[in-house]
């Protein structure tokens, strides 16, 4: 099997994100359009319906360093959120979040954002009280 190199995988992800070919409930793109290393990304998650996140838009930063996608990206919420897998500074805790903990090379930033959204909608989490809308870390 051919193993797609980091840069070409990120270019594919970028293209999918730019063309809006992915899921509608999330989005992502480069933080800086000039960043030839494609390291820093922004993501958003539209809060799932029938939860305390409904109608909220959560912003995140995603860092894909040199080891991506052999290793998972670092993911951090900018918008304040109350979720068991998110630490006090907004960082997504690898040990508490299966997608990062059991990372696979075939996963993408889209996978991460969609799985976080699922986590927000999970029965155990969907009624958790949330910080004021629009507050940030």
């Amino acid at each position: 099997m051919s193993k797609i190199p980091r840069n070409f995988k990120l270019l594919e992800e970028l293209e999918k994100g730019e063309k809006g070919l992915g899921a509608e409930s999330i989005s992502y793109g480069l933080s800086n359009q000039d960043d030839i290393t494609m390291t820093n990304w922004n993501g958003t998650i539209l809060g799932p319906p029938h939860s305390t996140h409904e109608n909220r838009i959560y912003s995140l930063t995603i860092i894909c360093d040199e080891s991506y996608p052999d290793k998972p990206p670092s993911v951090k919420f900018i918008s304040k959120i109350n979720l068991p897998c998110v630490g006090p500074l907004g960082q997504v805790l690898v040990d508490q979040f299966d997608t990062l903990k059991n990372w696979k090379r075939s996963y993408t930033m889209e996978t991460v954002l969609l799985e976080l959204r699922k986590c927000m909608a999970a029965p155990a989490n969907k009624k958790l009280p949330q910080p004021a809308e629009g507050s940030t870390y």
Binding site: M1, S2, K3, I4, P5, N7, F8, L11, L14, L30, Q33, D34, D35, I36, M38
Partner: protein, 151 residues
């Protein structure tokens, strides 16, 4: 290491290493023989002359039915190359044919450096600059060559 690599890729690689086209080099990564480090010398008479432009090339699983993927790693001021080094070239997209090779792709990219095409732009602001003030645009391209391609 070469196990499982199609014969065609091996042959192309051998020939590239033994007899590379003038001003072009392509070396496969030891741990991924479908992934090449590429260097292209700016063609003489172009604003890229004297510069060495690094690029990367990857042969996807379905190569040669699908084209190679290529991107510049050195910053370059060119209407058909964007800020991330992505290249707008028909043979890398809809005009690809399995009869083409890594060698022909790299030669076409080198030729693109010598003949920018602002009517089929990827970097719109650069293309506009080229159309409005070709002399000025060429001047910037030359400056960028000096600044980024002569490390």
């Amino acid at each position: 290491m070469a196990a499982g690599l199609p014969k065609r890729i091996l042959k192309e690689t051998e020939r590239l290493m033994a007899d590379s086209p003038p001003g072009i080099s392509a070396l496969p990564h030891e741990n991924n023989l479908r992934y090449f480090d590429v260097k292209i010398n700016g063609p003489g008479g172009s604003p890229y002359e004297g510069g060495v432009f690094k690029a990367e090339l990857f042969l996807p699983e379905d190569y040669p039915m699908a084209p190679p993927k290529v991107r510049f790693l050195t910053k370059i001021y060119h209407p058909n190359i964007d800020k991330l080094g992505r290249i707008c070239l028909d043979i890398l997209k809809n005009k690809w044919s399995p009869a083409l090779q890594i060698r022909t792709v790299l030669l076409s990219i080198q030729a693109l450096l010598g003949a920018p095409n602002p009517d089929d732009p990827l970097a719109n602001d650069v293309a506009q600059h080229w159309k409005d003030d070709e002399k000025g645009a060429i001047g910037v391209a030359r400056e960028w060559t000096e600044k980024f391609a002569k490390a």
